[in-house]
Symmetry: C2
Subunit: 413 residues, 2 copies
C-alpha cells in the first residue's frame, strides 16, 4: 500500500481490564516480533504513562512460550492506566514528551489497546505526530467488557465477561431457589452506560436457570415499578432473582447508586458499586422478605477460567491485524469486528475503522432488544451474544490452578 | 453383617449448599436404585421438612442420564432446609410425624446429607427410631464447604469451594495490581467459625498470584495490628491484597462484621454490605488509599464450573458408601474420609464414624498451620488442601453454558 517503514514499535494497554486483553497483546506482540519491518518490540509499562515515564519492556527478550501464555492470563500483564491526555491543541506537553521517547527509540509504530477513552488518546497521538511531521503509524486495538465501542459488531473482552456472568447467574439461580422459605436475590453487574453485560444474564434465563428480572441503563429506572415487578413475582413464586446494571439511573439521569460515594476515577466517572446492597436493603424494607445482594465485582472482568475461546481468538486476531495492517501502511485506524452469518453459522471478519469515527461514542443495547416491560431481554439479544461465548479454552494449569504468563519485563535503557 | 432389611429409603439434603452436594445425592440414589434390598427410593423435598410435610419425590421415576447430571449440578437439587429439631426427649412431635411417614412408605433406610446440624438431626432420628423399636437404618453423609466436621479428614464440598476461592483470588490478584496508582483490595470469604476457606486463598499466594495477608477466625482479630500490617505492605509495594474470613472476631468474641463502632464511612453514609466493605471503608479512612472490598458471596459455594474432580468423586463415594454400608447392616453412622499418603501420593479411603461422635463439634484450622504473625498460612496448610482440589471435571455443556440435571420430581402420593 505505501512504502516500507522500518523502526521499533510500542504496544500499550489502557483502561479497564478484561479476561482477554492479554490475548490481544499476544496477537500484536507476536505479529510485531515476526514482522521484518519492526526492529524492536516494546511493551509500555502502564500504557501511555509508561511511554511518558520512559518505562518500556523489551518484548524481544521474552521466552516465546511465556508470551503465548498471555492468551490465558487475565488482566493487563504490562500494566494499565487511566491517564487522560489534554487536547494537543490546548496543551502539548505530553505529546512533546511522547515524541521525544518515540525519537529516542526510533518508534515508528504505536499500538494502543483500550476502550473509548483509549481510542481517543490514540487518535490524539496520531493527529499530533502527523501535525509535527513525525512518521509513525498509530493503530487502536479495541477492548472493553462494556461492549460499547462504536462501529464494531462487538468488542474483545465482552464475550468472556458475558460468559462469566451467564454461568455465574446460572449457579446463583440454582443456589438462591433452594430453601423452603422466600428469597429475593439481587445481582449487580458492571456497565456504566450500556447494559450489554447485565443483558447477558438473560442467557442464563434462556437456558433455564437465570434472573426473572433484568434492568439496564438503556431504560430509565423507576423504583415503584421495580418494587411492583419484584413483589408480583415474589407473591407468585416466593423466589425472585433480579439482575441490575450498575449504571441504572432515574429519568433525570442520576444514578440509582449515586448517593453512595463521591469518589471518581481519573476520567471523572463516578465510582459506582454498592448498588446491590442498596437495592437489597430497600427491597427488604418493602417486602420483609429475606433478600441477598451480590456484586459480581471485578471477578466478571478477570474470570479467564471461564473465557470464551471465540473471544480469545478474536482478541488475538484484533492485535495481529492492527500490526499487520500498520506494516502494510495503514494508520489512524482501529481494528473492528464484522459479523458474518452464513447458513446460520457465525463468522467474524476483521476490518479497519478510522479512529476519529469510534472515539468517544458509546454503543448501547438497542431498545428493541429489551422487552416491552423494560425488565428483560428479547430473543434478538440472545441471538447476538450466544455465538460470541462459544468454545472452552484448554487452560494451562499447574496443580489444577491457573498457570499465568511469567514475563521477565526487561526495561529498555 | 446383620440380616437383610427390605424396604424403601429416603435421601434428604440439608443446610448450606455446596458445588458437589448433588454428587453425594447421585452416589446415594444410584446405589439405592441398584440395591435389591431397597424397594423404592424417595428424595425428600427440602430435607427433613419434606418428610414432615409428606413431600417425597420418587427417584425411581427419573431418567438415569438426568440423574447422572447431578454430578455437575451445583446447589441442592432436591431442596434444602435449615430446620432445627427439638430433642426427642423434650418434644417428640416431629419424631412421631417422621415415624408416621416412615411407616406410610415402609421406609427402612434414611440418608441425610448435611453439616454439623444435619448430623445432629440424623443422630436424634436414629436414637428415636431405636427407642420406639422401629427398625430403620439411619446414615449421615457429610457436606460442608466450611470443612469443620469433626472426625473426617475433610468434608465433601470444601475442596471445590477452596478451588473456586484460590482461582478467583489468583484472578483478582492479577486485576488488583495493574494500575499505576496504589490499591488495596479486601476479599471476604465464607467461614463463620473455622477459617479453612479463607486459608485456601493461600493456595493462590503459593502459586504466585494471591493475597499478601490472610486473617482467620482461629486468631483473635486486632484492628490496630491489621492496619499496621496493611500499611507496612502498602508503603513497600503500593498494592495490598487482603483475604479475610467472614467470621473474624475480636478477643471478646464479637464479630468484626457486627461492630457498631464504625457504623458510618468517611462521608457519614450508613454502612451497606458486609465485612469487606466495612474493612474497605476503615482502611480507606486510615490510609487515604484507593480500596476495594469484594465479597465472594455464594458464588464460592455454588461454583460447579470450577469444581474439583477429586471432590466430586469423593462426594459421590460418600453417598454410595452410606447406602451400601446401611444395606450391609450399619446404622447411626456418618461416612468419613481417611487420608492415606503413599509415596507422596494422596488417596482417600471411606470409613464410618458413629453419628454421636461427630454431631455438633467444630474442627478448626490448627494454629500451627497459621504463621507466627497471624496473617498467613504455612506450608502444612497448602500440603493439606492441594491434593483435594486436583482434577478438572468434563462439564456437560449446552451452547457453552452449563447443562444441569432436569429432574421430573414426581411426588409420591
Amino acid at each position: 500500500m505505501s512504502e516500507k517503514l522500518i523502526g521499533a514499535c510500542i504496544f500499550g494497554q489502557s483502561g479497564g481490564l478484561t479476561a482477554v486483553i492479554n490475548a490481544s497483546a499476544y496477537g500484536a506482540i507476536r505479529a510485531a516480533l515476526d514482522a521484518p519491518e519492526i526492529t524492536k518490540v516494546y511493551g509500555a509499562a502502564h500504557g501511555i504513562v509508561g511511554v511518558l515515564n520512559d518505562q518500556l519492556y523489551i518484548m524481544d527478550e521474552e521466552d516465546p512460550k511465556e508470551l503465548e501464555l498471555l492468551l490465558h492470563t487475565p488482566s493487563s500483564e504490562l500494566g494499565s492506566c487511566r491517564y487522560k491526555m489534554a487536547d494537543p491543541e490546548k496543551d502539548d506537553t505530553d505529546y512533546r514528551r511522547i515524541l521525544e521517547i518515540f525519537k529516542k527509540y526510533n518508534v515508528r509504530y504505536f499500538f494502543y489497546n483500550g476502550g473509548n477513552d483509549s481510542m481517543d488518546t490514540c487518535n490524539k497521538i496520531s493527529r499530533y505526530m502527523e501535525s509535527v511531521g513525525y512518521e509513525c503509524r498509530v493503530m487502536g486495538v479495541p477492548k472493553t467488557i462494556d461492549n460499547d465501542l462504536y462501529g464494531t459488531d462487538h468488542c474483545p473482552g465482552f464475550a468472556s465477561a458475558a460468559k462469566y456472568i451467564a454461568t455465574s447467574c446460572m449457579e446463583i439461580n440454582k443456589d438462591s431457589r433452594v430453601y423452603d422459605n422466600g428469597m429475593i436475590t439481587i445481582v449487580e453487574i458492571m456497565g456504566r452506560h450500556a447494559g450489554w453485560l447485565a443483558a447477558s444474564a438473560g442467557l442464563a434465563t434462556f437456558f433455564g436457570s437465570g434472573p426473572d428480572l433484568i434492568y439496564l441503563p438503556e431504560i430509565d429506572f423507576d423504583m415503584d415499578r421495580f418494587f411492583s415487578d419484584v413483589e408480583k413475582i415474589y407473591k407468585e413464586k416466593g423466589k425472585v432473582f433480579v439482575a441490575v446494571s450498575e449504571g441504572i439511573h432515574y429519568a433525570d439521569g442520576s444514578f440509582v447508586s449515586e448517593a453512595k460515594t463521591s469518589a471518581t476515577d481519573g476520567f471523572g466517572h463516578a465510582q459506582l458499586g454498592g448498588l446491590a446492597s442498596l437495592l437489597a436493603n430497600l427491597v427488604k424494607a418493602k417486602t420483609g422478605a429475606k433478600v441477598r445482594g451480590i456484586e459480581l465485582s471485578l471477578l466478571q472482568r478477570c474470570g479467564a477460567h471461564l473465557a470464551s475461546q471465540t473471544d480469545i481468538n478474536e482478541a488475538a486476531a484484533a492485535g495481529k491485524t492492527a500490526v499487520e495492517e500498520a506494516v502494510r501502511g495503514m494508520t489512524g485506524c482501529m481494528t473492528a469486528f464484522k459479523r458474518v452469518m452464513e447458513n446460520g453459522r457465525y463468522r467474524c471478519e476483521m476490518e479497519l475503522l478510522p479512529l476519529s469515527s469510534v472515539a468517544n461514542y458509546e454503543k448501547k443495547v438497542p431498545l428493541s432488544w429489551i422487552n416491552s416491560e423494560g425488565n428483560g431481554v428479547t430473543q434478538e439479544l440472545i441471538d447476538y451474544v450466544l455465538p460470541l461465548i462459544q468454545g472452552e479454552p484448554v487452560l494451562p494449569l499447574e496443580h489444577s490452578l491457573p498457570r499465568y504468563a511469567r514475563l521477565k519485563k526487561v526495561l529498555a535503557k
